[in-house]
């Protein structure tokens, strides 16, 4: 299979799977120079300590190939879902190899072609994968220089590289291209070493803005997502779903469904599905199935869940502790106690979970919208009892993930149905299924006790989080006595969440930043201090201080005590290795409780920024998406029954919400690159809550801040 075909298969056409076994790479790809590499540190790409990694494949993590025509291809298990690594990773590669950025191609998310990768999440691609890839590129360049040295008969030190051509510095007419060097060669190199931090200032491509390299095929409709694939004989499936989580099927009658033309009902245990060549006939058929269920649901709903969590028998885990809380309390002049509530959230990507599965002979190939092609492959191996080499997962373009496509139930369902029916099966979840089987951001409660002395120094910080995750729960401020306690699901105890939960963009950091930054604001107000001054007074972290100053500049911040009627809020936080600070201005309609955001500014220190344009887009996206959890998003449920299962009842941000957005990326050219896909979302709830307080004196402790909740808070002013 030619390279061009591989690319096409990944991105453009869903042609027949080829069943490539990894060791056949060379046979298939022909000549060239191949560099393999793998994570270097005790904590690898996956964030797993080395000892827990034993079960994982010992594979090298991806490879780069310099082909006979001089093009460079990077094979990676990571996927493209809008975060832009298809654009930024080639920039890094091009600089390290001294080739034009256009010469670098990415082949992504194909488990047969790309060695193991746990998944695309946590803003980790650029932070952890990028340096590996750069090291591989550097190794590739070293190999090329050796070859050139032999061919041109001069030492390596005398060679110069530019745009993929190696030249004898003393005799510019003597040169050789990468393509010529790679011709007829089959060279393999394996990398184990941790890449050295390079002088980033020498780079040509890194640090410059590039538009999305996939934009052209995305504006013409050419770009293929999993649901756009088509195979001969393909059928559409719809699966019978229970009305609520926890419901058990007691009886079923599918005679009605079978009357719909062209419909076949298939069953494997609890998996009952209809298949039809026509998607809409499948839609018609599935509702004709008569099913009855027994219910054993948790006695909890979206209003009572918080009390339920506080009363649950939890595992108590002290995450961080320093000094003595009681001593800090004694040293405090004023003590503050707050309780914050954060609901379940849906990912609500516009593309629903989708998979096309085909069993050819004994080889299962699945095209899926997933952030975790290898996770899905392993899932299929486990559920269908297939060996590794008999399962291939390909992730074409993914239509939004946000953490929700780290789970891959749809891929396993499609694979089972393909096996049951012997036909290629396309499974595109309905919007209703998407809102039902989503792995929601978990609801949580956060309780904070804190105190300040007469000079406005924070003396203690007692932070307790219940069932929400710990990411972003760091104290950040300079507090002598602090403790962070996590109340978690007890092993073997009854579950607290009535349905599946998982990672949602910057998992739980939104809630933790909301709670911390509102509490800080409460203390600033009580101390009679400007909230920026109060933060700077209690903050030693230089990166955060720099972000605060940068955002204040951009925003044109003028000091003032709150509530000052201006509607201005501040928040800071850290996520994925980066530091962020936000400022916002809002207007609150006190009669309706409706909040209009006038403007939001965000300053981000993300270390070296590989593609400022791409990073800015991520920041803007974070800010806009963050307005959703701030104002409207909340999964409503009664027991296991999710009640808002459509975009009419689960409201995500819209054009009318668009505020003026200003972003600043701090110049950090000599620092390693950090995460950029998530940090700018974490402060939105907090900055808006603080701005609402400044506008009105109303304090909100519960997200989303709906008009009704704003009115409720206004009553207490």
């Amino acid at each position: 299979m030619k390279e061009e075909q591989i690319e096409k298969q990944n991105y453009l056409v869903g042609d027949k799977p080829h069943g490539i076994v990894r060791r056949d790479f060379f046979k298939i790809l022909g000549g060239g120079i191949f560099i393999f590499f793998r994570p270097w540190a005790a904590f690898d790409l996956f964030g797993l300590p080395a000892e827990q990694r034993r079960g994982l494949p010992k594979d090298y993590n991806a490879f780069l190939r310099i082909a006979e025509d001089g093009t460079v291809t990077c094979f990676t298990g990571k996927i493209e879902m809008g975060q832009g690594i298809i654009t930024s990773l080639p920039q890094m590669m091009a600089d390290e190899l001294n080739v034009q950025v256009e010469k670098v191609k990415m082949v992504m998310g194909d488990t047969d072609l790309c060695p193991y990768d746990q998944g695309t999440w946590g803003s980790m691609s650029t932070r952890f994968f990028g340096p590996n890839m750069r090291a591989a590129a550097a190794e590739g360049k070293a190999v090329l220089l050796e070859l050139a040295s032999t061919q041109l008969g001069v030492p390596v030190s005398q060679l110069e590289v530019r745009d993929g051509i190696i030249t004898d510095a003393k005799n510019p007419k003597s040169s050789v291209s990468y393509g010529q060097l790679a011709k007829g060669k089959k060279i393999e190199k394996f990398l184990d070493v941790k890449p050295a931090v390079e002088d980033y200032t020498k780079f040509t491509y890194v640090g410059k803005s590039y538009n999305h390299s996939d934009a052209n095929i995305k504006v013409t409709g050419e770009a293929k997502y999993a649901g756009d694939m088509k195979l001969p004989g393909m059928v559409f499936a719809r699966i019978l779903r229970p009305p609520s989580h926890g419901a058990k099927l007691t009886s079923v009658d599918y005679s009605g469904a079978e009357k719909i033309a062209g419909t076949k009902v298939v069953r494997d245990g609890d998996l009952i599905a209809v298949i039809n060549e026509n998607r809409e006939r499948a839609d018609e058929a599935i509702v004709k199935i008569k099913a009855e269920y027994s219910f054993d649901e948790m006695p909890v709903n979206d209003k009572t869940i918080f009390e339920y969590m506080l009363k649950a028998d939890s595992n108590i885990n002290v995450l961080r502790s320093s000094g003595d809380i009681e001593a800090g309390r004694q040293a405090s002049d004023k003590v503050f106690e707050s309780e914050f509530h954060d609901p379940y959230l849906a990912h609500a990507a516009i593309e629903t979970h989708t998979a096309l599965a085909q069993l050819e002979g004994d080889k299962m190939t699945v095209w899926a919208s997933t952030q975790s092609p290898f996770g899905l492959r392993d899932g299929i191996m486990h559920e269908l009892g297939l060996p590794e080499e008999k399962v291939r997962v390909i992730a074409p373009f993914v239509g939004g993930g946000f953490g929700g496509k780290g789970e891959y139930q749809q891929g396993i369902e499609a694979a089972k149905l393909a096996k049951l029916t012997g036909k290629p099966v396309m499974l595109i979840w309905t919007r209703d299924e998407e809102f039902f089987y989503d792995t929601f951001h978990p609801a949580g409660v956060i309780k904070i006790k804190s105190g300040i002395d007469k000079s406005g120094f924070i003396k203690f910080w007692d932070y307790n989080l219940y069932y929400s995750g710990a990411r972003g729960s760091d104290t950040l401020y300079d507090v002598p006595n602090s403790k962070t306690t996590h109340y978690e699901q007890k092993r073997g105890g009854s579950p607290v969440h009535p349905f599946g939960t998982g990672a949602w963009r910057a998992p739980n950091n939104n809630a933790n930043t909301f709670a911390r930054e509102v509490q800080i604001d409460i203390m600033a107000t009580s101390a009679g201090m400007d909230p920026l001054e109060f933060r700077l007074k209690n903050l030693k972290d230089e990166n955060l201080r720099a972000c605060l100053k940068a955002v204040a500049d951009k925003f044109g911040y003028v000091a003032g005590k709150t509530p000052g009627g201006r509607g201005i809020g501040i928040a800071i936080g850290t996520d994925a290795g980066s530091w962020v600070a936000h400022m916002a201005e809002v207007k609150v309609d006190k009669t309706t409780g409706k909040v209009q955001v006038i403007r939001i500014a965000c300053a981000q220190d993300m270390g070296l920024c590989v593609n400022p344009e791409g990073a800015t887009i991520q920041m803007e996206g974070c800010i806009m998406m963050g307005l959703g959890y701030t104002f409207t998003e909340e999964v409503l449920f009664e027991g296991g029954n999710i009640q808002n299962r459509g975009f009419d009842s689960y409201t995500i941000p819209r054009f009318s919400w668009l505020p003026k957005i200003d972003t600043v990326i701090l110049e950090r050219k000599n620092e390693p690159p950090q995460g950029g896909g998530e940090p700018a979302i974490i402060g939105i709830g907090a900055v808006i809550a603080n701005a609402i307080f400044d506008a009105t004196g109303a304090r909100l402790y519960r997200m989303p801040m709906t008009p009704a909740r704003v009115l409720e808070a206004l009553k207490k002013v």
Partner: protein, 158 residues
């Protein structure tokens, strides 16, 4: 049950022997292989399936194919002419007005419809006109800018 439905599709007269009750969305995707038109919700709430019908942006998931009979339907695949991007497509590329790209075809078709009706919309009119097309990645700012740029280019007679 099947009947012949005739309409203009991306500039060409076309006909299909087809169940007339099927939605335009699935006919475009499965019968004609025009998969640029996306399924996002199937309920008319997200706009990912937006196409132009007689220059009017419509939700193809909410129309039966029989309603397209005799009409002029344009999908995202039919917007570029002779390989040259339509000004709206071009502006989306220039402004990087997309991330995952899944809502993009619907956004572009809806924006094109807006500009056909009102070649010089104000920013507020652009936002109002785009209000019911949903983007989860948060590309709104750039989409508004792209539509404004496209309107300027189209006004210039291009």
């Amino acid at each position: 049950m099947e009947e012949t439905i005739k309409f203009r599709l991306n500039g060409k007269n076309t006909e299909a022997m087809i169940d007339p009750t099927q939605t335009l969305l699935w006919v475009l995707r499965n019968h004609f292989g025009l998969t640029g038109t996306k399924f996002g919700c199937g309920m008319g709430f997200c706009g990912a399936c937006t196409v132009l019908m007689d220059n009017e942006p419509v939700r193809s998931c909410q129309l039966s194919v029989s309603e397209a009979a005799g009409k002029n339907v344009v999908t995202i695949e039919g917007l570029a002419t002779n390989g040259k991007l339509h000004p709206v497509q071009k502006a989306f590329v220039e402004h990087d007005a997309l991330q995952c790209g899944f809502c993009t075809p619907g956004m572009i078709m809806n924006a094109t419809g807006i500009l056909l009706k009102n070649p010089a919309p104000s920013t507020q009119q652009i936002k109002d006109g785009m209000e019911n097309n949903l983007c989860r990645c948060g590309a709104h700012l750039r989409i508004v800018e792209a539509v404004r740029t496209a309107s300027e280019e189209m006004k210039g007679g291009k």
